[in-house]
């Protein structure tokens, strides 16, 4: 899409030692992702998708190679700067939603604004608007246990957007949802990507999600096997 690179991965490797064996979760990944791009990450279980997300989000350090976000090598950042990166530049969406169970939808969505240092009423107002925009305006005071799976994922999406991040990392966002709810979530993410110019990187097995993306990155054994333009990769398993 756009030529401006938001994420650059250079010879990225992450190895784990498990009981004397070396597991190459990532084994030399080179990838550039442009601003506003929608990239699907596909590959069999264990191919390194989650590990890749952990690298981009600065949650884990590479064994080798580097990650650049907005041109900054994030291995050079200290703990404070990494926290800021995760708080302000990146929004996470997980397969299992990972909402804070004791907090209401509104409190969950406003929590990132607390860490960002936004005044409380501003954060709450922001959270209210975001919940409205994902169709949960009438559920803001519900706890996660009082919401359906699809609604919980909407709360998680709103939370990911709370600090206006440039990048959304979604790790199998529809993995725990039924077909219909999953499709709604995919449409929502797609809409956000298009309307807000958010860079969306999603690990998924969902053909609908894959079809909607600009590029499909296929991974296997910690490497990029193939990159295809969106709409095409229906032949993949």
């Amino acid at each position: 899409m756009s030529s401006e690179k938001v994420i650059e991965l250079k010879e990225l490797a992450r190895h784990f030692e498990v009981g004397g064996d070396l597991v190459k979760a990532l084994d030399g990944v080179d990838l550039d992702i442009g601003r506003g791009e929608y990239v699907s990450l596909v590959g069999p279980s264990g191919s390194g998708k989650t590990t890749l997300f952990n690298m981009i989000g600065g949650l884990d350090r590479p064994t080798n190679g580097s990650v650049y976000i907005d041109g900054v090598d994030i291995s050079k950042l200290d703990a404070y700067e990494l926290a800021w990166l995760r708080c302000r530049r990146i929004g996470y969406i997980f397969q299992s939603f990972n909402l804070i169970q004791v907090l209401t939808a509104l409190e969950n969505v406003s929590l990132p604004t607390v860490f960002a240092g936004l005044p409380r009423d501003e954060g709450n107002e922001k959270a209210r608007q975001l919940l409205e925009s994902v169709g949960l305006g009438d559920r803001i005071n519900h706890k996660p246990t009082q919401l359906s799976a699809g609604q919980q994922q909407r709360v998680a999406i709103a939370r990911a957007l709370a600090n206006d991040p440039a990048i959304i990392l979604a790790d199998e966002p529809t993995g725990n949802l039924d077909l219909k709810t999953g499709t709604e979530i995919i449409d929502l993410l797609h809409k956000l990507n298009r309307s807000k110019g958010l860079t969306l990187v999603a690990a998924t097995h969902d053909l609908k999600m894959i079809k909607a993306s600009d590029r499909v990155v296929m991974m296997r054994d910690g490497r990029i096997e193939k990159i295809e333009k969106g709409e095409a990769p229906l032949n993949h398993n």
């Binding site: 952990n54 989000g57 949650l59 884990d60 976000i69 907005d70 041109g71 900054v72 994030i74 050079k76 950042l77 703990a79 404070y80 700067e81 926290a83 800021w84 990166l85 995760r86 708080c87 302000r88 530049r89 996470y92 997980f94 299992s96 990972n98 909402l99 804070i100 169970q101 004791v102 907090l103 409190e107 929590l111 990132p112 607390v114 860490f115 960002a116 240092g117 706890k143 939370r159 709370a162 600090n163 206006d164 440039a166």
Partner: protein, 202 residues
């Protein structure tokens, strides 16, 4: 403004109180057990001190002089240690239950020290309530154990400042003990690696 590597995440004491209060309120059973544990230990402590004080006051008013056996003070110390161990245990369970949530919080910007602060604030809130209840129970117990000899109005003859001193001491001890009890669990929580925490299945 939101450039990479610019700016600082924040999480104030007040933020920690808000979030900690939500946890304590929603996990009411655990919180009540912790508070009960600390307030029982403290009520034992305050009731002994006050019993002694009531007898002393009674003696200055011309009554027979009595005192609390010193072995009781050993029992107090043991009771307080037991409540510390109980709280440590309960807080460790709380950390295990919240592993994923702690990982999530780190994903959205929390630093180690923010997680530490959250758990310590929860300890302080429990300590505050525990100390308060412990004091009230202690006053009641001391009156029950002395009242039949000294008359229940004995409390009115004790200098208020002395009652207040014991109140402050019981609150202080309660806060210190629940903080000490929570130090290790809170440290453990703060050091959780977000990647591991998010892989963790309950």
């Amino acid at each position: 403004m939101t450039q990479v590597g610019h700016g600082r995440v924040t999480f104030s004491f007040k933020d920690a109180i808000n979030l900690g209060f939500s946890y304590l309120r929603r996990r009411r059973d655990r919180s009540i057990l912790n508070i009960a544990s600390i307030s029982l230990g403290l009520s034992f402590y305050t009731s002994l001190i006050l019993t002694d004080m009531f007898y002393q006051t009674y003696a200055t008013l011309g009554g027979a002089s009595q005192s609390v056996e010193s072995t009781y003070y050993w029992l107090v110390i043991i009771a307080l240690i037991v409540s510390v161990v109980g709280i440590t245990n309960a807080m460790l369970i709380s950390v295990f239950e919240r592993v994923r949530e702690i990982g999530t919080m780190k994903c959205i910007g929390a630093l180690d020290q923010h997680v530490l602060l959250l758990f310590l604030v929860e300890a302080l809130l429990q300590g505050l309530v525990g100390g308060l209840i412990g004091y009230i129970l202690g006053v009641g117990a001391a009156l029950l154990s002395t009242g039949f000899t000294t008359g229940f109005n004995i409390i009115l003859y004790v200098q208020p400042v002395r009652l207040f001193t014991i109140f402050a001491a019981s609150l202080g001890i309660s806060l210190i003990l629940s903080t000490v009890a929570t130090m290790y669990p809170a440290y453990k929580a703060s050091k959780l690696d977000p990647v591991e925490a998010l892989r963790y299945e309950l």
